[in-house]
Each structure stands twice: as C-alpha cells, then as structure tokens.
C-alpha cells in the first residue's frame, strides 16, 4: 500500500494505491504479456479531500495497465529502441541548432508535470538547448490569475490559505468556478457557507448553491468585469467600504474608484444582465459576514481581459477588507494537478525557478550560480504558449518542438491552426503515455511513466508541497520524464551530464537551492520532512537548522527548533510588495474580442465535465468515464435549438469564423438564449477549440476560451461506408 495523491486536478486528493496479485488467465493489459499485479485505488483521509474521491480519482488506476499504453518509443510511427529514438532526436536537434541557432528548438511543458520535471525541463531548455523558446499549457490555465495576484499582492499563490479555512466561512463567492464538476471533493469545505456562484450557466455548482440557500448570478459570457465594477460601485455607494483597511493596508483605491464610478450598477446591469438587486444583495452579504471568501477560476480568467477581470474582483475584496485577514480572503482555484508548482520553477517563457523573473539580473545571477553557468549565457524572455505554437515552422520561428505532459492539438485555441503549425515542423517529439492527438503527429513518441510509477513532488492549489510516490514498477520499456531529459542532455553533450540528474530527490535538492530567496522559496522543504507528514506551504526558506533533520524522529507537524514551519497563510501581517501594501488596479470593461453579430449571433463558452480531465487523452480511455460522457455535446436553450432547426439529441455543428465542432444537442432550459456551452475534452471533429478565439490578454497572454461568436446548425452525418 502506497500513500500518494490523485493524478488529476489541483486538489490532489489523498489516495492509496494497492497492488493485488492477479488471478490466473490471460492478461491482455500487461505490456510484456506476463501476469502483472493489478493496482487499485482507495481514498485516503487528507485535508483537501477529507476522505473523498470523485469518479476520476476512483478509476485512475485503470490507465496503468491500459491496452493502449505506449511501451516502446515510436519513430515515424514504428516501434524502435530507446537508443535509436533518442539518438535520432539528438542528431536532429544538433543539426538544427547548428544551422539555425538555439531558438530553432522549442519546448512545451505542462501543468501536470511534477515540480522536479518542470524544473529540469526549464533548465534543459535554457542550459542544454540554450533556447528561450519554452512555455507550457499553464498559460491556458493560471496565467491571468497569476498576473493579477502578482500585481495586487506581490506574489501569486492560488489560495493564500489552506482549503480547510473555508470550512468556517459564512459566505463564499465562486466567480467563474464550477467546482462541482472540476474538483467535487472541494464542496465538502463549502457546506457551512452561504454560497454565491457567478456563472453564465446554471451549472452543477450553481444548482447545489441555490439548493443550499445560496445565490446564482448569471452574467453574459465575457462581462464579469462589468459585474465586478458595478459591485465595487455599490460597495462604495451603500457605505460598505472598509476605510481603516484601505488606509492601513492598501494603495491605489482612488484611481480604481475613478473607473468604478462610471459603472453605476444600472449601467453594469445593462452590460452583464445581472440585476442591480442581486449585485446589491451579494455585496451586502459579503460586507455583513464575519468570515468571507471570494474565489475565481477559469470562467472569469480565460478572456482577452482575464487579468483585468481578476483585478476587478480583487479590488472588490480589497474594498471590503478581505485579503490578508484571518477567516477572510481572495483566492484563485488552480486547475491542473501541479498548476501551482508548474508555474513556479521555470517552464514558463519569462521565468526562472522560485518564481523568479528571467529578465531580473539578480535572479539570473542566482540561478546561473546554482547551475554553474555564466548568467549571460541564459536566454531571455521567450514566446508565450499561443505565440509559440503560432510561430512553429514560420520564418524566424522554431523548427523543432519537444512536448512533455501536454496535448495542444486539443487544448490550445484555434486548433486547426495549431495542427497546421505542428505539421510544418521539421521535428516534433512528444513524451506521453498514450498516443494522444498531438503524439499522433509526432516524428518521435517517447513512452513515459504515469503517476503511480514515479517519485516526485506536486504543489497543490493551496501552495502545499506534496509527495507523489511510486506504488509499482513501470511497464518494461517505459522511462520517467526525468530519465528522458537526462539522457537527451547527455547525448546533446552541451552541458556536463551531472547537471541533469534523473533521480527525483537529487533534482528536488537542486530545485531547493535554485528557489532559495525567490518568492516561491522551497529551500527549507525536503523529502524527509514531507515523508514525515509535515504540511509545508511555501514560502519555506532554509534556516540555520538543517531542514533535512526535521524528518523521521519528530512527530508529524512539529518541524523542530530553528526550522521554518512553512507558510499556510500569507499576507496576515503584510502583502509581498516592498511597502507591504496590496495594490488596487484601475481596470475598465472592454468586452469580448469577438462580439456576436448577424452571422454568428450566439456566444460560445467552454468548460469541463466531471467525468473528464483536460484534453481527455487519459479519461476518454477509462471505460467507466467514457461511458458516463461518451462524446461531446452542446448545451443550448430549447428556443435557440428550435430556431436553429434542432431538437434534443440531434447532431449539430457549432460554427465560428475559425472552424466547426460537432456535438450532440442537449436542450437545457436554464441556459441563456444567447449562449451555448461546449466541453473541451474531446478530439477529432468534436474539438471545441476548433471554434475558440486565440485573442490574447495583453499581460498574461491567456487566450479567450470563454467567449467567442458562433452559430449552431444541424449536421447530417455522412453515411457510413
């Protein structure tokens, strides 16, 4: 029995993996034909999940022995040995670098990779490849909230408090968050609170909130910023400003008010469709409650104005005196399993480990010293995800791409264009455990381990560092991502082989040193401390006492004298800006980059369903999950369906200027008549991102997944041949 955490979302539910001896008989799932132990999963009592698991977690082990599991490298679709595959990659990379320079090779990472992998991948790009061209799918996930958090508070940690603090809340506002689908066990922490759910749809989360006596506000897609401005206006007009808090702990209110003053609630209502009475009620609820939280998620963040929208919500919470007070706060709900750690350790185009900026000379110097290289040799800021994908194979753009832990053919916006760019590459390498839609395009596919087959750390939505533990040996022929990076670095021979260890703990030890002194300081965290059961939230700097000594001998939760205990709650004394104050930002509503018009009269929004995760490359292969939600669908108001000549259950095409996605009609009477919803977990003709808009936020470079103009029409499937 091995204690580890779920492979999927950022809640990182505690689970145990147990191997059971197989019965006699054929074992088609076994990669080497020999009978293998069968792994099963049980929930484990852990603060984030309180002993619960959703259907994805319960069935996670099914993928370990899945018949489609990759167990051999593929070169142009044919199985080859590791030496041949890696040798091919190294030769091609070396030739491209020699002919076109280091930026001709790009790297694309993922928010599901462990801290160790994210760190080593970033180092591999900057040191072994010398390229600035590295970014990751977290750009599609946390980038807007991260940028807004950084500019308001001076640091970005999704939840600056433990999830369990929500248990005692009186009021929790969920803005653009559908946790009943995306991380169900989180709901167990919200049961005591009056919930307010802000979502264009009457989502499962909205439903359980209303059924529990809460409220549902239903803005039009892409108008959350106007709603937040209207509510800030009401907070002022109705006398709810926390004047002492503003004076003592913040700066910049006046400029933010100058904008909010123009958003009298009746004007905001006209834009967003939420009534003034509801805005007033929610502001009053927040103002009067003793313990209140406001949490945002992708619904308000995945917009071309995503950063400003998050800032608008932060402004409201600052006006009401919430952040940095015990029992109160603002937070963002991280999506991917290691969405938090993945954005801290250097797989982002503008970042170095420890959440350092790559254009900060002091940061470069520190990290270069840890890496034993000249600071001047480190590349600068590279292209962000959408821009990177868009530049592939273009003049001046990268000619090779290495993909780890991501499936951008399904997950990136304007998917037709992404596929076209990937196909134009001279070399595409994908490390994955299945032949994902992106792997299907690759010149070389490298089979790597899954969560239960590897060691490492993950940082969950509350900034707590967790141990992922190996519960079973990987199938023969499969290597860890760290081994792949390490061996590739060795073959490239551009840096000393010792610079790229494949042992997770050795990588983590180096990560600690690289992060020391940065905003996300892990230097006081160690495998022994984590294995002893300590709850360590960053920052956790190394101190005079040896952090490694904090482990086995002491009872859980007692780090011992002279050892930093970690920081479960940020901002209680001061915010992370030099003056210790939180900053209001003056932000104004502009609206979606592509408003509806006569030709495309509806607004499309995308999101997740409980049974699936991200691009679905994993969950679509779990029989029980595929059975629950077997194919894509489009939620649409019955009137809107009827006007388009559609009925419930009919095949339809959702069409935008960029492409069309096939989906089965689901008539949902609670939908806005001007809005349709598509889940984004499906590939092929059902790829929701064929229709989405790749308009970018100017700061975070987040694409506008959550609002684009579409029409919906019947689709007659061609007869089967």
């Amino acid at each position: 029995m091995t204690a580890t955490h779920c492979p999927y979302c950022a809640l990182q539910c505690g689970m145990t993996v147990t191997e059971i001896r197989p019965s006699a008989g054929p074992h088609p799932g076994s990669a080497d034909g020999r009978p293998r132990e069968v792994a099963t999963v049980e929930p484990r009592d852990f603060p984030t999940n309180a002993g619960g698991l959703c259907q994805k977690g319960w069935t996670a082990a099914e993928l370990l022995d899945h018949p489609e599991r990759l167990t051999s490298p593929l070169l142009h679709g044919e199985p080859v040995g590791w030496p041949e595959a890696l040798g091919h990659i190294a030769r091609r990379l070396t030739a491209l670098r020699a002919a076109h320079g280091p930026d001709s090779v790009a790297v694309f990472g993922g928010g599901g990779l462990t801290n160790e992998k994210a760190y080593l991948l970033g180092k591999f790009a900057r040191v072994a490849l010398g390229t600035s061209q590295i970014d990751y799918n977290g750009r599609f996930c946390m980038s807007s909230a991260a940028a807004a958090g950084n500019r308001a508070f001076g640091v970005d940690r999704g939840l600056p408090f433990p999830v369990t603090d929500l248990d005692d809340a009186d009021v929790v506002v969920l803005a653009g968050a559908n946790v009943a689908e995306t991380m169900p066990p989180l709901l167990s922490h919200l049961r005591g609170a009056r919930q307010v759910v802000i979502d264009p749809r009457y989502s499962a989360t909205a439903r359980q909130a209303v059924e529990g006596g809460g409220l549902h506000l239903r803005p039009a897609p892409g108008t959350d910023l106007a709603l937040a401005l209207g509510m800030l206006h009401l907070a002022v007009v109705d006398g709810h400003l926390d004047a002492d808090y503003l004076a003592d702990r913040t700066t910049g209110f006046d400029a933010a008010w100058r904008v909010a003053a123009r958003w009298w609630p009746e004007r905001a209502e006209r834009v967003c469709g939420v009534s003034v009475a509801e805005m007033r009620e929610v502001v009053r609820l927040l103002a009067d409650a003793r313990s209140r939280y406001l949490l945002t998620a992708r619904g308000v963040e995945q917009h071309a104005q995503g950063v400003d929208t998050v800032s608008a919500w932060i402004n409201l919470t600052l006006a009401l005196g919430m952040p940095g007070r015990p029992g109160n706060g603002f937070g963002t709900i991280t999506g991917q399993g290691n969405g938090q750690g993945g954005r801290e350790h250097g797989q982002k185009a503008d970042q170095l480990p420890g959440y350092r900026r790559i254009d900060d000379p002091a940061a470069r110097e520190h990290v270069a010293a840890v890496w034993g290289v000249d600071p001047a040799s480190l590349p600068g800021v590279g292209r962000s995800a959408v821009e990177l994908l868009g530049a592939l194979g273009m003049p001046g753009g990268p000619k090779a791409l290495l993909v780890f832990g991501s499936n951008p053919v399904v997950s990136a916006p304007d998917a037709h264009r992404v596929r076209e760019r990937l196909e134009s590459l001279e070399l595409l390498v994908v490390a994955d455990f299945f032949r994902s839609e992106t792997a299907a395009l690759a010149d070389v596919v490298l089979p790597v381990t899954q969560w239960a087959e590897e060691e490492g750390t993950m940082t969950n939505l509350e900034g707590r560092v967790l141990r992922r533990r190996r519960a079973r040996r990987p199938p023969p022929g499969v290597r860890t991502d760290l081994q792949v990076i390490s061996e590739l670095a060795g073959l490239l021979d551009t840096a000393p082989a010792a610079a790229f260890p494949s042992d997770p703990e050795a990588v983590f030890t180096e990560l600690r040193a690289a992060s020391a002194g940065g905003p996300a300081d892990y230097s006081g965290i160690s495998y022994p401390r984590l294995d002893a059961g300590e709850a360590l939230h960053w920052p956790c700097p190394a101190t005079g006492g040896d952090p490694d000594a904090g482990g086995n001998s002491r009872p859980c939760g007692d780090p011992g004298p002279g050892v930093h205990p970690g920081t479960p709650r940020l901002f209680l004394d001061a915010f992370a800006h030099p003056d210790g104050r939180a900053r209001f930002f003056p932000v104004d509503h502009v609206g979606p980059a592509e408003p509806p018009d006569g030709e495309y009269p509806l607004r499309a929004t995308t999101g997740r369903v409980l049974a699936h995760y991200q691009s679905g490359a994993q969950t679509r292969r779990v029989a029980e999950l595929a059975e629950t939600v077997p194919e894509s669908y489009v939620e649409v108001h019955p009137d809107t369906a009827r006007r388009a000549g559609l009925v419930d259950g009919a095949p339809a095409r959702v069409v935008s200027r960029r492409g069309a996605a096939h989906a089965v009609v689901r008539c949902v009477p609670t939908m806005r008549t001007d809005t349709v919803f598509l889940p984004f977990h499906f590939g092929g003709e059902q790829t929701a991102n064929f229709v989405t808009n790749d308009a970018l936020d100017p700061i975070s470079r987040m694409p506008e997944f959550k609002a684009c103009a579409v029409r919906i029409e019947p689709f007659a499937a061609p007869p089967h041949t």
Binding site: L187, A261, G273, A611
Partner: protein
C-alpha cells in the same frame, strides 16, 4: 516633411466632452495625430453627472464623483482650461473666442456643451437679476447639488417641481435624508415620457409608501419664502425650498449664433457633423435623428464614433442611434423602461403585436411587455428586478423573445405542473435513471441493484457503488434510499427488477 497634428477644440468639459477627449487619447495616446484643447465653463474638473442623485441621497461625497484626477490633463497631453467657456465661433477664420478674452484656432470644433435646466415660468422662481430666487434650486450640476443640500435639512419640507426621472431621483434621495418631500407634476401620471398610466400609478403608490407626497395634475403658481408654494388647485404648500426638475434644454445657442442649423439642439448626421463640415456636436447639445437626449449612454457612444473619425482610426464609423433604456436610480424602487410603451387601450389588436401585462399595485409591481413579430420592442418593469435585467438584455440584443413569455414577464419560469417542491422528493418517486451521487455518477437504479445484491446499509452501498464518497453531499439521500428499501414490503414495486437494468 514633418506632419503637423490637427487641432481639435472641444467646447464643454462635462461627461461627454471629457469622454470624447479620453476616446481621442485612447486612439492617439502620444498626441501624434491630434492636439486637443478643452474648455469647461464650470471651474471644476469633469464630474459624473449621473451620480448627482447618489450624492443627493448621501451615498457619495462630491469629491467621489470627479471623473479625472488633477494630473489627468498633463498626463494625457490635453490642453485643459476650466472656468473658461467658448463665447463665439468664427467659422470663416476657424477660431473660437473665449470668455477670458483670448481666442483659439481649430481644424475641427466639437460642441459638447450639454444642456441646462429649464425653469418654468412660475412666479417667484427667478429673482430680479434673472438668477434663481432665495430657496430655489435647480437640479442639474454639482453646484445645484450643493445648493439643494444647504436648503434641504433633515426635517425640512421641500417641493420638487417635476415628476420625471430626475425629479423622482431627487425626491427619493432627499426622503432618504429625512427631508419631507412633495412632488408636483403637471401631467396626470409620473414619468409620462417613459411610462403608461398604469405604471405611473404603481410608481406613485410606491413613492407614497416611501413617504413622498405625490401631487399629480398640479401646477405651481407662485413661490415665496414667506407663504410657500401656491398651486393651481388652490392649495399652498408650506415648504422651505423648491427644487426645479422640470426638464432640460439643449445648450445650442453658441451654434445658432454662428449660423449652424439648430432645432431644439444642434442638428447632426451619422458622422456627428453639423451643417458646417468642421463643426461637430455630441451629447445633450446635439440632436441626432431618432436619439432621445438627456441620457449619457448616447453621448458616450457618439464620443467614440467621433473619435474614430477625427483620429482616422475608423473612417467608416457611424453613429446610428442608441436603444433607450431608462432606469430609475432610487433606493427601494426598481424601475426600468425600454422602447415603446403603448397605451392601455392599444396593443394586442394590431397585427403582429402582443402586449403582456401584470398589474399588481398593492405589492408595487407592474410588468408590461410589447412585442412585434416575436421581438421585444418595449417594456416597463417595476418591482421586478430580475425580470428587468433580462428584458433589458433582450431589448439591446434584438434577439427573438423566448417562447415562455410568462417567464420573461415574471423573471422566472413557473415550476413544472404538479411541480415537486425543491429537493423533498421521496425515493419512490424518483426514476431509476436519476443521478443520486454526481461525483461518482451513481443512479438510483445502481443503488437499488447494489441493495438487491446484499448491500443493505449506507456504508455497504457506498462500498459497492462509491455513492457518497466524493463531496459527501448525497450521503443523506443515499441513507434515505437505503431506509426506503429496507422498509419496503416483500413484493413491493421497490423490490421488483428494474426496467432497463442498473442505469
């Protein structure tokens, strides 16, 4: 050859003049294309006139309604002169004369002079010198606001002349401050420009309940501090002050004197250009065909179009009018009116026209929808805030109205027939396909099947099906189903095999 930027002069630094300059600088941040000079007659920085009723009601300080900070003009390369007005236009020389004795050349002149309060010819409202008499205040600008607040102390009595939008906002605001307010309205129902008679009556009832003394069809005849306000119905109101909110008039004198075509406003076309190609007008002083003045939204939209044109950002930009949405900003009164509001008698007889109406005066509710050919063309909503928000969005979008007209009228759908009251459904009534545990997609049918296989306690059901092992919120429901099964008589429907198996 260096390009010379064009000179734009803006006469008026109110909400629309200020907005126009912001829109210019949004398109031309460093001033490479246009130089801009703005002249504001009032000595203040631009402020938000829409919020004056909130100031009157005590929700905001006068300082809080400023639109710009002191450094705004310098930061955005704007030549701003407050307390200076344009006194005449020399179209031939392309110069404006200013109240400080200087003059200023222009390539394009933008008139944004707004409107002024109309003072009815009631005796005693104006003093000998033509300014407002003692105890009288208009309700138009920020100085008016300060004057009203000086006159109207808690406990004092004030008459508001005019039962339109502005008058009612003032009346409600003052009532909230403890002032005893009478509203005199010469017409038979309140807000007659936006409401039909039924809505007017409901509104009057609501105001009365909030303590406002509403007098309809009454005209003020004479005012003096000594006797108070004499009315044409023979009554005299012993009020301490009079607030005049009887309507506004466009400030078009400057244009008219310069020979520019005016007719109750400076006439403009879809490019916001007057009869002189180099002179433009936006906001309340302008009269665009089909646009109702007195609201800020049209002026802001005009400002954006004109900025597109004068900076060359979008030479094809045109202003085609703004759908009118009226929203009364008054605490405890939720009123919205859009589009056409047919009289009581007209309506459903006309081809393709539907009128729906809910009239509930004792609860202060009134809702009316006017539809033509499936599109919403007008609505009035009082006391029905959620319905109002939906209706306004539908009206603005021009999309076809939902089939469920009643839901549109009421703001919510009626529960389905013989509707089950939220959540308290007995296990027997649930269909086998009903999902009990969302987190693990466990249906009632699956639970019954598990029970039949021997899982006869909630814990055993959880082990067998995982129901209740996610967020835990369905654990009670699972226990309920278990109890129902355990207590079922042998042979009862609960224990019969389930059709279609364990869905």
């Amino acid at each position: 050859m260096t390009q010379v930027s064009r000179r734009i002069v803006v006469a008026g630094y109110g909400m629309v003049g200020a907005r126009f300059v912001e829109e210019l600088r949004r398109r031309d941040p460093d001033g490479r294309r246009v130089r801009v000079s703005v002249f504001g007659a009032e000595p203040h920085l631009a402020y938000n006139r829409v919020l004056l009723s909130t100031v009157l009601a005590g929700g905001l300080s006068q300082d809080a309604v400023r639109l710009h900070d002191r450094g705004w003009a310098a930061k955005h390369r704007v030549d701003l002169r407050t307390g200076v007005s344009v006194t005449s236009i020399d179209r031939a020389a392309r110069r404006v004369a200013l109240s400080d004795g200087t003059d200023e050349p222009f390539d394009e002149l933008v008139l944004a002079t707004g409107s002024c309060a109309w003072i009815p010819p009631t005796d005693g409202l104006l003093g000998e010198d033509g300014t407002l008499a003692e105890g009288v205040a208009a309700f138009r600008d920020i100085d008016d606001c300060a004057r009203i607040l000086r006159l109207a102390r808690p406990g004092s009595r004030v008459a508001v002349l005019g039962g339109g939008l502005l008058g009612l906002e003032a009346a409600r605001g003052l009532t909230g401050r403890g002032v005893r307010v009478s509203v005199l309205h010469p017409v038979g129902h309140l807000m007659e420009r936006q409401l039909d008679a039924g809505a007017g009556a409901v509104l009057a009832g609501t105001l009365t309940r909030l303590g406002v003394d509403v007098r309809l069809g009454v005209l003020a005849k004479r005012w003096s501090m000594a006797t108070g306000l004499e009315c044409d119905d023979g009554t005299t109101l012993a009020v301490d002050a009079v607030v005049v909110a009887a309507g506004v008039r466009p400030e078009d004198g400057l244009a008219a004197e310069a020979g520019i075509a005016c007719d109750r406003g400076v006439l403009v076309d879809d490019t916001l250009t007057t009869s002189d190609d180099r002179v433009h007008a936006v906001g309340d002083c302008a009269r665009h065909p089909g646009t109702v003045s007195g609201l800020v939204q049209p002026g802001w939209e005009q400002a954006a179009v004109l900025a597109d044109l004068l900076t060359g950002s979008d030479p094809a930009a045109r202003y085609r009018g703004t759908p009118v949405v009226t929203r009364l900003k008054a605490r405890d009164i939720d009123l919205a009116a859009v589009g056409e509001v047919l009289d009581h008698e007209c309506g459903s007889g006309i081809d393709g026209v539907e009128v729906l109406r809910l009239d509930d005066p004792s609860r202060g509710r009134y809702a009316k929808l006017v539809l033509r050919d499936d599109r919403l063309t007008g609505a009035i909503m009082i006391g029905s805030p959620d319905a109002a928000a939906n209706v306004i969005q539908l009206y603005d979008s021009g999309a076809p109205a939902p089939e469920d007209r009643l839901a549109l009228l009421l703001g919510r759908a009626l529960p389905p027939e013989s509707g089950v009251v939220g959540g308290s459904v007995s296990p027997a009534q649930l269909p086998a396909t009903a999902v009990i545990c969302r987190c693990n997609t466990v249906s009632k049918g699956k639970l019954v099947a598990a029970w039949r296989s021997g899982a006869t306690s909630p814990a055993a059901l959880a082990r067998a099906t995982r129901a209740g092992t996610g967020c835990g919120s369905c654990q009670q429901a699972v226990a309920g189903i278990c109890e129902w099964l355990n207590s079922a008589e042998p042979g009862s429907p609960a224990l019969r095999p389930i059709e279609g198996g364990a869905a």
